[in-house]
């Protein structure tokens, strides 16, 4: 098992190098000069332009810029944002807990509903229940997130007045962040009503962000279950007279879960993309919104640093999934 883990870990290194090159090149390949964009209509004299190029180090050859960047990264310095002039790492860690909290809630919701829905759909294959579940899943999968979010806000917040429109907690509550996770910090603050306020602010963005992963998990669970339910050992279990609950819950589901776990791991990437739109709609102060703004402003340091950090998060999750997979399915370890 240790060898398997080390092998997987070793694969991370070339991936990381690749990501650093792609992240560095990606933003520079986009047309648009950050200095000209910063100046706007006001413009700059050629001398001033050169001064600023030198100030930001853009006058050096690209290869030198890349190596400067990599040396910085290895020392834990991702540079400072061109726009805010603050260190990228500091900005990332101030915003990342918000994205993480939302993503965790979304994945819990997606798993908690997606797996049972998929199992029931498979068991009742062809029934109206199966067809409606898969219909809803397909709709969820195809839903434009932005439109869906706005629709929920207009209905639940605007029309019914049940949930707040946006933000992470009511503005009435104010406390210094301890963990950065609003659910935990609101409990720690001891302020009455803070926790329920945080929960109420989480409901709509969680639903919106969970929609696509939920649909994918439900569909994947259904097809994996259908495959397993047709296997010989399930027939054997049935003929032995085992209770259907036991067959489905113990024998079938456990084997069906293997591809489902892979799917859940892959959804982390989907969550990150979904977070960009969800965070924009719900004014959720996470890294999705931060990245989008930075691409628009050609903020090289933030885009390349942000991409690198997000890729690292996805790599860590995938590594964890691989290892978990190894535990569930001993055949993989070889």
């Amino acid at each position: 098992m240790l060898r398997f883990f080390l092998y997987r870990l070793a694969l991370v290194i070339p991936t990381f190098i690749g990501v650093s090159i792609v992240a560095f090149a990606f933003i520079r390949l986009l047309p648009g000069d950050p200095i000209l964009l910063l100046a706007g209509e006001r413009g700059l004299t050629p001398e001033r332009y050169e001064q600023l190029q030198a100030l930001y180090g853009f006058d050096k050859p690209l290869v030198v810029q890349y190596f400067d960047y990599v040396i910085g990264v290895l020392q834990g310095d991702l540079g400072s944002s061109l726009v805010t002039k603050r260190p990228v790492l500091q900005e990332f860690f101030a915003l990342f807990p918000a994205t993480l909290e939302l993503s965790i809630c979304a994945i819990i919701l997606a798993v908690a509903i997606g797996i049972p829905a998929g199992v029931f759909a498979a068991v009742k294959r062809g029934s109206w229940f199966d067809q409606s579940i898969m219909g809803v899943a397909l709709t969820g999968y195809s839903m434009p997130i932005f439109w869906w979010g706005l629709l929920l806000i207009i209905f639940f917040s605007g029309f019914l007045g049940w949930t707040p429109v946006s933000g992470r907690i009511s503005l009435l509550y104010y406390f210094e962040p301890v963990t950065g996770f609003m659910l935990i910090d609101s409990l720690l603050s001891g302020q009455k009503g803070a926790f329920t306020s945080a929960v109420s602010h989480l409901i709509l963005p969680t639903i919106v962000l969970a929609t696509i992963p939920l649909a994918v998990i439900a569909r994947q669970t259904r097809s994996a279950m259908l495959e397993v339910l047709g296997e010989d050992y399930v027939r054997t279990a049935k003929s032995k007279g085992l209770a259907p609950k036991r067959i489905i819950g113990l024998h079938a589901l456990r084997n069906a879960l293997i591809p489902v776990i892979t799917t859940i791991g892959l959804q982390v990437g989907v969550l990150m993309t979904g977070a960009i739109l969800t965070e924009t709609i719900f004014s959720w102060p996470g890294i999705g919104k931060w990245m989008i703004d930075s691409v628009g402003k050609r903020d090289y340091a933030v885009v390349q640093g942000g991409l690198l950090l997000i890729a690292s998060v996805i790599m860590i999750v995938n590594l964890a999934v691989d290892v978990l997979y190894g535990f569930i399915n001993p055949r993989i370890r070889r």
């Binding site: 000209l36 413009g43 004299t45 930001y56 002039k85 707040p164 109420s200 102060p285």
Partner: protein
Amino acid sequence: MNTRKVTTLLAATFFATSLATAASAKTLVYCSEGSPEGFDPALYTAGTTFDASSKPVYSGLVQFEPGTTNVVPDLAESWDVSDDGMEFTFHLRSGVKFHSTDFFTPTRDLNADDIIFSFDRQMNADNPFNAYVEGASWEYFNGMSMPDLIKSIEKVDDMTVKFVLTRPEAPFVANLGMDFASIMSKEYADSLAASGNLSDLNQKPVGTGPFQFVAYQPDAVIRYKAFPDYYAGKQPIDDLVFAITTDNAVRQQKLLAGECHVMPYPNPADVQALKDNSDITVMEQEGLNVGYLAYNTKVAPFDNAKVRKALNMAINKQAILDTVFQGAGQAAKNPIPPTMWSYNDSIQDDPYDPDAAKAMLEEEGVTDLSMKVWAMPVQRPYNPNARRMAEVIQEDFSKIGVTVEIVSYEWGEYLERSKAEDRDGAVLLGWTGDNGDPDNFLAVLLGCDAVGGANRAQWCNEEFNDLIMKAKSGSQEERAKLYEEAQVVFKREAPWATIAHSIVHMPMRSNVTGYKMDPLGGHNFEGVDIAE
């Protein structure tokens, strides 16, 4: 969890939410459109940053009288200008206090050292705060040519400061009302330098303004409280909160739900619905901007004023206002906006008359003209949709036999390429005023010095240029006369088709009182109250 428990939890949640929104008595919540880049206004150029830093927290030597572009005293009680127009002496207000916060307690009142520090750090490479954050470029200070303009800043005594300039420049006083000229506490900066936390100057601001900074949660909330010792008196509200909400549809929902009191930049298509809502008041004002189409006056046949005039007469501005601005704009006849002093209202706009335009072109021997029209790739306050605007112009010009090809480039590229003196085609662009001074439009955009730069028409007219150069000094009354004349020359020569000024809408809850719209585009909550 059983169903009853879930229902109870949900009910409790919703109750807490509605309670939370209802109980904010003297707290004004502003749903701002974005996050500030930082809290040192001199480092940045974005209005969103100024709204969160210079407007609530800082004061300047002078300020713009709320609701106008007139320069009035702020930290300087009065000022004198030497006869040659090169020395400006400011007499400071006495007893002005800096904010006392949980991170800094001032021991003295405002004095000349604070004024000198606030400018010195932007121009003197030896000042410890000149490069206190990575990439500090003091863009506005440089952009307004202050390094060339300021020869020295002298402390006459504790309460008097003298600026010596390299040339007479009447708009200089207006420059000092701008956000980059906010006055910082030297005592605070010194204490940060001593403790090594220099960057706190950009993260925990201390000023003399109406509100003092409490906390900022990035991309989420900024909190301020009224400064009890503000020199002009404590504000009617106790707390000011910026709830950062980037999407305009969501901002509108928050305003309607009572989660915020004021929101900027509504979607123009939604303004009518907001106006019809009895809980909402929508204020409106012309923006301090102009959107224009600049011909290249150095290239034939656009070097002929009559040809330019004819093309101007072919543009149906009303159609542009309806389709591009959706009502949030007004037709422009002058290169400066109507809220600016010296605006010449007696000028008649070119009539929309395609037949006359066609005849004029034929008279000048211009037939089968084909030209390029450049359309910006981005949305700007003075032009919400340049592509659409270019299409309307294309259709208008086709009616007089002129074929238009629409071209576009990435924004940075567009700005750079459009400066070229041999540029092919007319450029859609615009300008938003910095300091309310006509010089900031007429000299910056149409002066001979700006050819090959911000003067996209590449237009150097001696008569016009003499007028605006003369207007660099003198009293406001004398200057206004010269600018009025300059606008007559501009209209006659038509280097641009002046298209529109935007109309800015500001929706707020009906119980908000005392809000004044800033023609310079800022959002300022001084004097604002909430009726019980």
